[in-house]
């Protein structure tokens, strides 16, 4: 009956339903309701009712009766789990009831006493709810009605805050606050109470009524706790009670100060001077002399006063920020508090600073470190607050602001052996930086730049005691907090990188090359991504790249040691990241530059890159990669990385010559060149050029792979073995090249990928023709056979290249064209081909390679695709498991195949297909239980066996003894994880038959 009420009630006009009868009828209907869904409706119903029958509620007993019905439900006690079919959560009920409670001011005489009463209950939920309801009632019932309860509310809130505030939040910010249920509730109660207190203050205080504020500030308990916590030496490490009192008092005062300028003035006027006295700051005596610091230090530091003053400062800062955001009246901001802070900021800064300077000494003497840590946190926060007042409204004079920044930067530079303080200071500096940016104060910005940023950037150039990684951490954190700070940071960083690049590569300084790796790391992982996401810096890093290229143009003597490979990789990554972020025209400029320098520097024969010439001619004319000078090697690496990261629309001049160059180096075994070639092929926008290019490249590759020895450069025919070696190396390079090329075409969904896979497959199968010749006992032929095998194996691995994802090229980051589902398409076209090839093959070695290719093809494939083709996939999968497990080189492949198999075993549809093979599967898995090369394989095999126990009982029961026998061996495995899995698996198989476990 209740269900439709709210809707209908809205449509009924009040005139029709005159009289109390209707209201009482509803009250009766609502009374004793227990179904949660109905209750939610009921509470809404009461709300609507109140709206309609406002006049009747004026008579007291109607409101009372209605409220009585509601009040039985408070606080909502509802323990059903969410998973229940009610679909009503406690929060829904509670919120609905809250709305009903606050729906009319007529409830006030009944609701407020009830809430205050429940607030003193011991049930945490009741407390939280009472506070929430009270807060809402305060807002809804109107100040006039509530004023009579002001005193009671304050007493109740005071009681809750003093007794329930957990450890001060500011102190334990590093420690997780939410530990366990009880702590959670306490925390919740405290936050709700403080919210409620703030609402109360805002409601009851207007400029001409200060009674409530006076009530709080002059409260006996507040006064008493203030005296006790600021008494010298009152704080000690173990005194939790005092601690709680302190944080409670801090929260009350800061809520009051935070509520309005007026409240802020009152609090500062009453407490701030006393705090200063407690801290030992006397305006007359402390004139920033060094002696004064020592004096402050030598007394036992008054932690309570320190904490409270920081809290007060922070609340006044927050107050300004909120006032500025909400209105534009700036004249009323300044008051007593402003002048007090202005007066004391100098000495306060010194006091905080001195607190930060001592700890090392004291902790070294074995003083309690916890206590010192709290003092440090407090002082750092104090300095931070003083420096983060809103721009021009700051009461802190310029001198103090500079002092504060000086203190922090000094800590950053010289106190790195104290990581705790160092991190805190860095955090504060970052906060100050972002605060300056928020209020757009150019004056402060200048000071900050001068003191902090310049100083840090200077550190990059000279040797400092501060370790480089810390400098970089600091500089990147500070630089990335706002836009204005990043440009000097980028500039300084790029200059430093350029100079250490030259030192590393020209002067062969080992330290510089190590430094440069750190630089590049920071540049790539922090600065560049930030620039790209913020999007406001134009072409970040472009100058750096151009500069590097220009330097390479001017300098001839470049050296590169083998141990600098890491550096080179980082340089290439940087190039790629920079280029990828540039616009098309700038990419073009960079590419042109690199290409021209390369051509000029490598001094290539003019006809080497002619389009018309066959690739093998070019191949002979261009020197091998290892014969290139270091500079040219580097240039080639850079050129390849630049090409890899280009946009699709970036115009390429000399496409053919560039491609030829890359192609030649691909064949010479230069992997980045192969990747660059693939990137170009993936992105070429023009269909005609694309077709031509593909034709040209494909021809070149297949001419190398078709293995016509006559075509080979005759000069290499002098030595048979060497020639053989050369030839197969060339072929391996060609296979890798064509695999990358094929991947590029596959990703853009080009049809020729079919031809490419056929070329690769042919290359794989060509091995079988050679095998019979192994009866020859000439050593040359043995080498040849091995060489052919290597070529064929790289062809098998080409399938891995084709289908794996690469993070250095051909991905979204580097603007590759990626058609969705390209892997699936490749799989469905390749499966029949591989299937028949494996069937027809009769050489065991080639067959193993074919299985390897098949393994690579299915290992990354989504399960649904495989399950759809289960009839073909499963037999091949099982065969490859048994064929491949003999070679240690296949261990990763075996693992991924096992993962595929486990997918089948868990998938519903897969189970149906695999059930016919279950005995073979178990045979294979048992064999893998003792797989020596990889622990994960053994573990996964056991997990697969466990999964099989979910199969129909009749099928697997006969295999039980066999499995249990094999598992006994796994108990003795040398790895713990395997043993544990074996125990689980054993239990699953043993308990299959009956309740009791028998062996």
């Amino acid at each position: 009956m209740l269900a439709g009420c709210p809707l209908r009630l809205d449509s009924i006009s009040a005139e029709i339903m005159q009289g109390d009868d209707f209201v009482y009828g509803l009250i009766q209907a609502v009374d004793q309701e227990k179904d949660p869904r109905c209750l939610v409706l009921t509470f809404h119903l009461v709300q609507s009712l109140v709206k309609l029958f406002l006049s009747q509620l004026g008579s007291e007993h109607v409101a009372q009766d209605l409220f009585e019905v509601l009040s039985c439900y408070f606080p909502v006690y509802f323990t059903h789990k969410i998973a229940d079919d009610f679909e009503v959560k406690r929060e829904d009920l509670s919120d609905a009831l809250m709305d009903a409670f606050c729906s009319t001011p007529y409830f006030e005489p009944f609701a407020i006493p009830l809430l205050l009463d429940k607030l003193s209950s011991s049930l945490p939920l009741a407390k939280i709810d009472s506070l929430k309801y009270l807060n809402k009632c305060l807002l809804n019932f109107g100040t006039e009605r509530m004023l009579q309860h002001a005193q009671n509310i304050w007493f109740a809130l005071k009681d809750v805050i003093l007794n329930h505030l957990p450890q001060a939040e500011i102190l334990s910010s590093s420690v997780s606050v939410l530990g366990g249920d009880i702590k959670y509730h306490e925390h919740k109660i405290a936050t709700e109470a403080l919210i409620c207190l703030k609402t109360t203050i805002l409601q009851f205080t207007c400029p001409n009524n200060v009674d409530f504020l006076t009530l709080i500030i002059d409260d006996n308990v507040v006064e008493r706790s203030f005296c006790s916590v600021t008494m010298e030496g009152s704080y000690s490490d173990n005194d939790d009670k005092n601690d709680l009192k302190l944080s409670a008092l801090g929260s009350i005062l800061s809520v009051v100060a935070n509520s309005s300028i007026f409240g802020c003035n009152r609090v500062f006027q009453d407490f701030f001077p006393r705090l200063m006295v407690a801290l030992g700051i006397d305006l007359r005596t402390s004139k920033h002399s060094a002696d004064a610091y020592v004096e402050i230090v030598s007394q036992k530091f008054n932690y309570g006063a320190l904490y409270l003053s920081v809290e007060l400062l922070a609340s006044s800062r927050d107050l300004i920020a909120t006032v500025l955001e909400s209105s534009n009246s700036k004249d009323s901001l300044r008051g007593i508090w402003w002048h007090l802070i202005q007066e004391f900021s100098g000495p306060l800064t010194s006091a905080f600073k001195s607190a930060l300077m001592i700890p090392n000494k004291i902790t070294a003497e074995g003083g309690n470190s916890n206590y010192m840590q709290e003092i440090i946190i407090c002082s750092v926060k104090g300095l931070e607050v003083l420096a983060t007042y809103a721009g021009e409204h700051t009461p802190v004079p310029r001198k103090s602001f500079e002092d504060i920044l000086e203190v922090f930067i000094l800590i950053i530079i010289s106190r790195y052996e104290d990581p705790f303080l160092w991190k805190l200071s860095l955090k504060s500096l970052v906060l100050i930086g972002s605060c300056i940016a928020r209020f757009k104060d150019s004056n402060m910005q200048m000071i900050y730049n001068e003191i902090v940023v310049r100083r840090l950037v200077r550190l990059l150039h000279k040797d400092s005691i501060l370790p480089l990684d810390l400098i970089l951490e600091a500089i990147s954190e500070i630089g990335t907090c706002t836009l204005d700070l990043i440009s000097p940071v980028i500039q300084g960083l790029e200059e430093a990188m350029l100079s250490s690049f030259l030192q590393a590569c020209v002067d062969e300084s080992f330290k510089s090359s190590q430094d440069l790796v750190l630089f590049l790391d920071c540049y790539c992982t922090k600065i560049l991504p930030w620039c790209h996401t913020s999007g406001s810096i134009e072409q970040p890093g472009m100058h750096f790249v151009i500069n590097i290229l220009e330097q390479m143009e001017d300098n001839i003597a470049f050296k590169m040691k083998p141990e600098m490979q890491d550096l080179l990789d980082k340089m290439m990554m940087t190039m790629k990241l920079v280029v990828r972020g540039c616009a098309e025209n700038n990419q073009y400029i960079i590419l042109e530059k690199a290409y021209n320098i390369m051509l000029a520097s490598a001094n290539l024969p003019s006809n080497a890159l002619l389009v018309s010439s066959s690739i093998l001619e070019g191949f002979q004319l261009i020197p091998d990669f290892c014969e290139l000078s270091c500079k040219n090697k580097m240039l080639l690496y850079f050129l390849a990385s630049i090409v890899t990261a280009l946009h699709q629309q970036t115009p390429l001049t000399n496409v053919a010559r560039l491609l030829n160059l890359l192609l030649v180096f691909t064949l010479k075994g230069h992997l980045p060149a192969a990747q660059a070639l693939a990137s170009v092929a993936n992105k070429l926008p023009n269909a005609v050029i694309l077709e031509e290019t593909i034709e040209m490249i494909l021809d070149s590759f297949s001419s190398v792979l078709s293995n016509n020895h006559q075509n080979e450069p005759h000069m290499l025919n002098s030595n048979d073995g060497a020639s053989m070696h050369f030839c197969s190396n060339l072929q391996i390079n060609a296979v890798i090249g064509i695999a990358w090329f094929g991947k590029a075409l596959l990703m853009r969904g080009h049809g020729r990928v079919k031809d490419i896979s056929m070329v690769i497959l042919k290359c794989l199968l060509s091995n079988k023709n050679i095998v019979p010749s192994s009866s020859h006992h000439q050593s040359g032929n043995f080498i040849g056979e091995d060489m052919h095998y290597l070529v064929a194996r790289s062809a098998a691995d080409a399938f891995h290249l084709l289908l794996s994802d690469s993070d250095v090229c051909l991905n979204k980051n580097f603007h590759a064209i990626i058609r969705p589902l390209y892997k699936q398409r490749f799989f469905s076209s390749m499966l029949p081909v591989l299937h028949s090839a494996i069937k027809e093959c009769n050489s065991p070695r080639t067959k193993a390679l074919l299985y390897r290719a098949f393994g690579h093809t299915i290992s990354g494939m989504p399960l649904t695709v495989l399950v759809a083709d289960a009839k073909k996939v499963l037999p091949l999968l099982l065969d490859s498991l048994s064929v491949l497990d003999s070679d240690i080189l296949n261990k990763d492949l075996i693992y991924s195949l096992l993962l595929v198999l486990s997918g089948f075993l868990i998938d519903e549809k897969g189970k149906e297909d695999i059930i016919g093979y279950v005995h073979i599967v178990i045979d294979h898995l048992i064999k893998l239980l003792s797989y020596p090369h990889m622990m994960l394989v053994r573990e996964t095999a056991i997990q697969c066996l466990t999964a099989i126990t979910a199969f129909p009982y009749t099928r697997i029961y006969p295999l039980r003894t066999q499995v249990l026998g094999a598992l006994a061996g796994a108990f003795d495995d040398k790895k713990r994880n395997v043993r544990q899995e074996a125990v689980k698996c054993c239990h699953a198989w043993a308990s299959m038959a009956s309740r009791s476990i028998r062996f």
């Binding site: 622990m935 006994a968 108990f971 003795d972 040398k974 790895k975 713990r976 043993r979 125990v983 054993c986 239990h987 043993a990 309740r995 009791s996 476990i997």
Partner: protein
């Protein structure tokens, strides 16, 4: 069997935190006392819905493993002196170890000295192969043991 519980109100201790071991990809992990403890700590007490660890019947220190000789020695402490469940607990331990460790380990199970009124005979009964086998043939005893072990599989 006596009616009612032998120890009606046992002291329950907190469970210790599980130690997650660092993964070492190359070295072999030998069986150690923590391994053994991990496998038996969750066995339920025959009388109470608490684990042996919670009742402090077992601890990691009360287990020694000798890899060379292939021996596992467990000393457990019954909650009360005259506990007739001591033999059942011992039987549970033996069955559990049998299921979890290779058969070549020799397992010795004893009550800790002075913790049981009938110490000697309990020890003798627990380490006698024939009597253990006979006990496991007894359907009701077998069921009791299985129930105790069952909870540890959760």
């Amino acid at each position: 069997m006596t009616l009612g519980l032998i120890n009606a109100n046992p002291v329950v201790h907190a469970k210790k935190e599980r130690i997650v071991r660092a993964e070492d990809n190359h070295a072999a992990d030998a069986v150690d006392s923590l391994d053994v403890f991990d496998s038996v700590r969750d066995i339920r007490d025959p009388e109470h819905p608490y684990s042996l660890e919670q009742l402090s019947v077992l601890s990691e220190e009360s287990i020694t493993v000798d890899k060379k000789l292939g021996r596992i020695q467990i000393t457990f402490t019954p909650t009360v002196q005259h506990c007739s469940m001591a033999t059942v607990i011992g039987l549970c331990l033996r069955v559990k170890l049998l299921q979890s460790f290779p058969l070549h380990f020799k397992v010795d199970i004893n009550v800790s000295p002075g913790s049981h009124a009938d110490e000697e005979s309990v020890n003798k009964q627990l380490n006698d192969k024939e009597r253990v086998a006979a006990a496991l043939e007894n359907p009701s005893l077998r069921q009791l043991v299985d129930e105790c072990l069952c909870s540890s599989e959760l």
